[in-house]
Amino acid sequence: MNPLPPIFKDWFDRRGWDVHPHQQAMLDQATDRALMLIAPTGGGKTLGGFLPSLIELADGAHAGLHTLYVSPLKALAADIKRNLRTPVDDMGLPIRIEDRTGDTSYTQKRRQRADPPQILLTTPESLALLLSYEDAPRIFNGLQRIIVDEIHALAESKRGDQLMLALSRLQTLAPNLRRVGLSATVEDPQAIANQLACHPDPCTIINADPGPDPDIAMLLTAEKPPWSGGGAKYAIPAVLEQVKQHNTTLIFHNTRAQAEIFFHNLWLANTDDLPIGIHHGSLSREQREKVEAAMVAGQLRAIVCTGSLDLGIDWGNVDLVIQVGAPKNVKRLVQRIGRANHRYNAPSKALLVPANRFEVVECVAALEAAKAHELDGDPKGPGPRDVLCQHILITACAGPFDESVLYAEIKTVGAYQGLSRAAFDDCLDFCATGGYALRAYDKWKRLLQTPDGMWQLRDPRASQRIRMNIGTIQDTDTLKVRLKGNFKPLGEVEEAFAATLTQGDTFLIGGQVVRYENLKEMTVEVSRRADKAPKIATFMGTKFANSTQLSQRILRMFAQPDWPTLPAHTSEWLNLQRKFSKLPEANRILVESFPHDGRHHICVYGFAGRNAMQTLGMLLTQRMEEKGLHPLGFVATDYATLIWGLDPVNDPAPLFEATNIRADFETWLSGNAVMKKTFRGAATIAGLIERNLPQARKSGRQATFSSDILYETLTKYDPDHLMLRITREEALRGLVDFGRIEEMLSRTAGRIDHVVLNRVTPLSLPMFLERGRIGVAGAGQDRILEEEAARLMQAAGVQSL
């Protein structure tokens, strides 16, 4: 055991603290090359990560950078700086601590490069930028430790992949570098540990005492949840009652639009004028910071929020977490709840509020999974190649490199350990020449090979543009919203949402109903309205798909003979379904056919998650269209797809023929909007297209033409191009989620139960009230445009001039 040095021991004693066992373990293992600490919030995780650094630096002998701390959020870096100052100042340690993020001033950044502090706090993007400078070797050569905070959050995204690639570079510059990861509870710690360590090094995992199990329950209400919808308006009185009984309550929602609507309704019912705030990613930064400050100061009794509040800010006084809507993912729920009630060793408290009848089932399934400590998550695929392309360009910015050395370095990154030399060469070729099969740029390559075999930028000035595009965060094009004649923005909406607005439309933002007036210099101008019901705010509706594990749990529940854990209204509903039709089973696909409202309907229960069920809807309607069954539209949820059309489906089995589905998928995929969106993301990260600069958008002139044109050109002339291969692989996992359709097909292996009825079934009923119906575009977009244009021409009284 490594005892604390006296000066540290005294400091702990003065505060009346004991070293937690996991902090001691971190000290004991401090010389390990890779070390990961899994601890709940409030367990002194950060101090555990920094203690070895502080001790090593206490004698003032180390010159230059010793420890690099990387967190996903700028705000977190600033917080940590403040928190670390306390022990360092109290003990009078000779340690300089600075942060470096997008907000750091230019002069400060320059000075940091010339004279780095002992501890530097930064983000993955700022670190990548530092590594692109020619003086990176000098800055980092004495580096001893890197601490990656919230590694579980980073590991899920491309930001984590970029960070780990940066670590491989750092390891070359500083061979003695030791890696430390700090993580919340996750389902597969070994997977994250493998990403952290320098492959094939082992990684020591230290588990802190997770504390007592959280106290989670479903919120019981006098009123029954509705059949469908996501508003949970019925639960408002019960939620307000809970808010009154607690100090600070966080009320989480799955989407920003739902949060806005709930907040609006909450205020209409808030007759006691309890201070309640709202926080989500579409609000302006000023507004979010105001709410965060009020929350930290304990001035708010409740905050209606989305995942934007998950990281970064101090949850000090929060003693209740309410999740509105089914959590869709047990791990996220458990991590969230774990942050409430900051006192270590006191159970955190949470309530789930199902928004509709089906979500009652989902919530109960999630509760049982949480109690059984069964976390979910999909295994991560291999390291994405668009991020690798960016890494190669960043490396080239710093100076000439040898391809074999770089390849060996990249193979030490866990996520890229399986990268073949051919795949690496593809990426290098893309960076150097564009990687086109049929035509080449003879004179204007981006990277050139010098006679000694080293790669370098053809034009060193290109490094500036590459640096400006560093990062993997996809910013959607958003427009600021402000009150007419007022300078301060209320928040932001997606450009695509703004484009659908016409004068007089009302929507919710920041809890108020506003009326769209006009678009002025890329700002949406609105006026205040006293209306109670707005046109629904559909901006940024990130809909999470139910995790595979949760779907399976629901199917297992359906197999039970009865449901003692479900409220009576819900178990009666399931019993009715069992009586009139049947309940879906895990290894079969249930298809119900029935007429309704003069149309033939089929409801397909596939339980593959919303994205996959949506894709299935597109594929099935395409096939029905070919068979002349005249499908008119469909709607998808996490568990089913409902399709309506002019003709009955008498034999659904051929629709689910796996080879047909795969073949249809290929044709459908290439023209799909999701593909274009995915392509845009990958091509931006890989450096093929540049980020939209704000100045260019302001002028109304597009800096570049739409990336859709590039997508279409490539599809037509170079269908096997690297960017298209990357796009395809990603879309399959992401929004298209064909992987889960494959999973459904193999799970059910052609076992299809077709139930023909003369009326709507109990389980399909909520589908009829679901939003997000998609019309089958037989004649396509032009038809819609044409009708709208004709109407406008007529209204304007012009046929031509």
Binding site: R439, W444, G700, Q702, K716, Y717, A789, M793, A796
Partner: protein
């Protein structure tokens, strides 16, 4: 043909879905802002290497339009090349293709701000030209009965933005024809200032669709 037939300053016109303007009575096809060689120029200047198939794609579109309309005259309304270097760098296969399209036709290159000098390719070179009552030039002036390009107008309707012709009783501004061309929103101040009254936009795509812009 999914074109939009209309009369402009006494001349019969067809706005084609591709973004070309066809004058049937004059047997003339006019295209503007081809920006050939744009990917080459971007690679030269920024190091980014876009799919180098843009010349091919633009010429294919032009070839298709020529096959459909078989005009005696073709007018390229300026900015046909992204710059003079790009014109010089045009591959031999593309030059041959272009020459094939020019054969037997009266081909006019109107000069644009990107390609002011003469180009070593077939066809004649002009600053502007007159066809019946119309004047064809690259950048709009305040003269009437004028057809020009330069601004790459786009129009947005039902959430979709497409390259578009803009016209009122005095002038017409053509959309950019080249594959890799951005656009300027039809309600941008510079475009609003050019039109006295609210112009009509003819949106391109699978079909040419006219719609009032409502820009006063």
């Amino acid at each position: 043909m999914n074109g939009y037939y209309f009369s402009f300053c006494g001349t019969n016109c067809v706005a084609m879905p591709s973004g070309a303007l066809y004058l049937p009575d004059n047997s003339l096809l006019c295209v503007s802002d081809l920006h050939l060689g744009k990917s080459e120029r971007i690679a030269r200047r920024s190091g980014r290497m876009l799919p180098p198939y843009e010349v091919q794609q633009t010429l294919q579109k032009l070839d298709d339009d020529l096959t459909m309309t078989t005009p005696e005259s073709v007018v390229c309304l300026g900015d046909s090349f992204d710059d003079l270097d790009a014109a010089a760098q045009l591959g031999d296969d593309m030059r041959l293709w272009l020459a094939g399209m020019q054969a037997g036709r009266n081909w006019v290159w109107i000069e644009g701000n990107h390609d002011p000098g003469p180009i070593e390719l077939g066809g004649t070179h002009r600053r502007e030209m007159r066809i019946g009552s119309l004047t064809l030039r690259h950048i709009a002036t305040d003269a009437s009965a004028e057809v020009s390009g330069h601004y790459h107008p786009k129009h947005r309707l039902a959430g979709r933005s497409r390259p578009a012709f803009l016209y009122d009783k005095d002038r017409m501004i053509m959309p950019a024809y080249g594959a890799y061309t951005g656009g300027l929103a039809s309600n941008a101040p510079v475009l609003r200032a050019l039109f006295g009254t609210s112009p009509i936009a003819v949106m391109t795509g699978h079909k040419a669709i006219p719609v009032p812009t409502g820009n006063g």
